[in-house]
């Protein structure tokens, strides 16, 4: 990994510090997102994974540190401007617009004028990826099943043809069969060349679909490395994959 040049990094976070009021949540974490690959952040509840994503999306202000996109400092950009830089966040809990149809929800992903021209082709692409959404395009998003809602949320994120797609807990609250399906879809999206930052508690799947991973604990990066290595790491296996102490 030492031979890596920064050209391989689509996004680099340097010593990010984030506070909610007096409570510090991120303690100077640094990580890189590799161009064209799936990078993941794993960790338990409250480790700061979602905070890290929201900080990159510009929803949360930083108390310290910098964020670089293509070596350009974007720390000062608003969330709106970061959407324009084609950074898309699919938030945790699939926050859809429940009173709008599936198609409208997707179209809202092209709300900014910059993306409007490509709306048609983006919509076709999303419907190719998620044929189920095409069948249900006139249905209200609030009436979809959990898995379909997650697909709709990911689809909305893809509508702006993001160069970076951030997925926050995409398997949260889904039936095991749907979890399989969602992770297979994430693999498909990655194969189309979209850079993905994946956050998940489902460590098993998350490490299998990603190439590089960071392990977060209480607001710090505890461990990092290629996903395969993390998957076989004793500590990770014990703490997150439920492996018992080997006798």
């Amino acid at each position: 990994m030492t031979a890596e040049t920064s050209d391989d990094h689509l996004l680099a976070a340097e010593k990010l510090e984030v506070r909610y009021g007096a409570t510090q949540v991120l303690w100077g974490i640094s990580f890189n997102i590799f161009r064209g690959k799936v990078t993941c952040i794993i960790g338990s509840n409250g480790a700061g994974k979602t905070t890290a994503l929201n900080t990159i999306a510009g929803v949360l202000p930083v108390a310290g540190g910098k964020i670089f996109l293509d070596r350009r400092d974007i720390t000062a950009l608003s969330s709106r401007d970061r959407v324009k830089q084609r950074i898309a966040l699919v938030p945790e809990g699939r926050q859809l617009f429940p009173g709008m149809s599936v198609e409208e929800n997707l179209m809202m992903g092209c709300f900014l004028p910059e993306f409007r021209k490509q709306a048609q082709s983006s919509l076709s692409r999303v419907f190719d990826l998620f044929p189920r959404l095409k069948e249900r395009r006139r249905q209200l998003a609030g009436t979809l099943s959990g898995g379909e809602q997650q697909m709709c949320a990911i689809g909305r994120g893809l509508m702006s043809s993001p160069q970076l797609l951030m997925l926050d807990e995409p398997s949260l609250g889904l039936a095991p069969r749907l979890v399989d399906e969602i992770f297979a879809l994430i693999g498909n999206i990655a194969r189309q060349g979209v850079t993905i930052l994946l956050v998940g508690q489902n460590v098993n799947y998350t490490l299998q679909v990603s190439q590089y991973g960071y392990v977060m604990e209480t607001g710090r990066i505890a461990l990092e490395g290629p996903s395969e290595m993390l998957f076989n790491n004793d500590y990770v296996r014990r703490a997150y994959l439920g492996a018992t102490e080997q006798a």
């Binding site: 929803v59 324009k84 938030p91 859809l96 617009f97 092209c110 709300f111 709306a119 419907f127």
Partner: protein
């Protein structure tokens, strides 16, 4: 089948375009057809209330920000109009001033309160509204709690007041329709349904809320100005009262929150019924409103318009009954013939 559906929706579209103008025409001609002075007065006050209802509905119904503080705009509109007319300006100048001051106030109120969400925002607006009332009660230049008087030279012309109110309420309907069918309106609907998701797709919830608050405030301010000019005398305990805020909120809820015609319907019903209620049950009328509010929210959250829609089985997939997101963002021509 498809052809028939197309025809009926086209017909509905045409009716929706023609009916409002027909209604406006009737309202403009009515006084000439020999309307009693009392009816003219009743229609005047109904138009004033309806304007407030339409204004509140933009913020509360479309953007989902429930405010209990619209009396501030109504009262500021009344006082601004009064002060400007006292300074020798024309009433219309007064109304424009009322709109400007109310919009300015909405900005200062929104700046801190729009950082709050849901019930916290609602509670904050009560606080602001009560604070303004107390200040106005003690402000010397406006006569404090004793109230303010507008003195106009010349004969009293009830029809002039009536036509002013009708023109303003018609203008409010037009503004409201334009907002609801614009990209701005679409952003507000997104904010109402999920503020975080809206921010994630590049909508700035804070500035969008500030803008709609200003439009809503301005409309309510003008309504306050028109009311004040006709009343000739008003005081903080009346125009700035909590009761005024409640009344303004109640109308769109009764009629059908989030839709232009729901707000209008609510305003009309409220305007006509209120007087009877106050006259017949002076001590109980607030209780009756409370009961009505509970019943509507429990049984028919979409108000009377929602009830009518359900009765006539015209199903809408849209939350607010306004134009679809795709149509707003890409226009009709591009939508038609799109096959995926």
């Amino acid at each position: 089948m498809a052809g028939r559906m197309k025809f009926s929706s086209l017909w509905k579209r045409r009716m929706a375009l023609i009916l409002p103008w027909l209604l406006l025409l009737v309202l403009l001609v009515l006084p000439a057809a020999g309307l009693s002075a009392n009816m003219v007065r009743l229609l005047f006050i109904t138009a004033v209330w309806t304007t407030c209802s339409i204004g509140w509905n933009l913020l509360g119904g479309l953007a989902g920000q429930i405010s209990f503080g619209f009396a501030v705009f109504f009262g500021l509109g009344a006082y601004t109009t009064g002060l400007l007319m006292h300074a020798g300006r024309s009433p219309w100048f007064g109304f424009i001033g009322a709109a400007a001051i109310a919009a300015l106030a909405s900005f200062f109120i929104g700046l801190p309160t729009f950082r709050l969400r849901g019930p916290y925002f609602a509670i904050a607006t009560i606080g602001v509204s009560e604070a303004v009332r107390v200040v106005m009660n003690n402000l010397d230049i406006t006569g404090g709690a004793s109230g303010y008087r507008i003195i106009e030279n010349g004969p009293y012309r009830p029809l002039e007041h009536y036509y002013t109110a009708i023109v303003v309420v018609a203008g409010a309907v037009v503004i409201s329709s334009v907002v609801m069918n614009s990209k701005f309106g679409l952003a507000l609907r997104a904010i109402k349904q999920d503020e975080d998701a809206a921010a994630d797709i590049g909508v700035n919830p804070f500035t969008n809320k500030l803008w709609v608050h200003a439009i809503a405030g301005a409309l309510t301010g003008i309504a306050g100005g028109i009311y004040a000019r006709r009343a000739g005398f008003f005081y903080p305990g009346d125009v700035f009262s909590f009761q005024t805020s409640i009344s303004i909120l109640l109308m769109p809820v009764i009629g059908g929150i989030g839709t232009v015609w729901g707000a209008v319907l609510g305003g009309v019903i409220f305007g006509i019924v209120e007087e009877q209620l106050v006259a017949k049950f002076p001590d109980l009328h607030l209780l009756l409103y409370g009961g009505l509010l509970i019943l509507i929210i429990l049984l028919e959250p979409d108000g009377i318009l929602g009830l009518l829609r359900r009765l006539f089985r015209s199903k809408r997939i849209e939350d607010s009954g306004s134009t679809g997101a795709d149509e707003i963002l890409w226009g009709r021509s591009r939508l038609e013939g799109r096959e995926l």
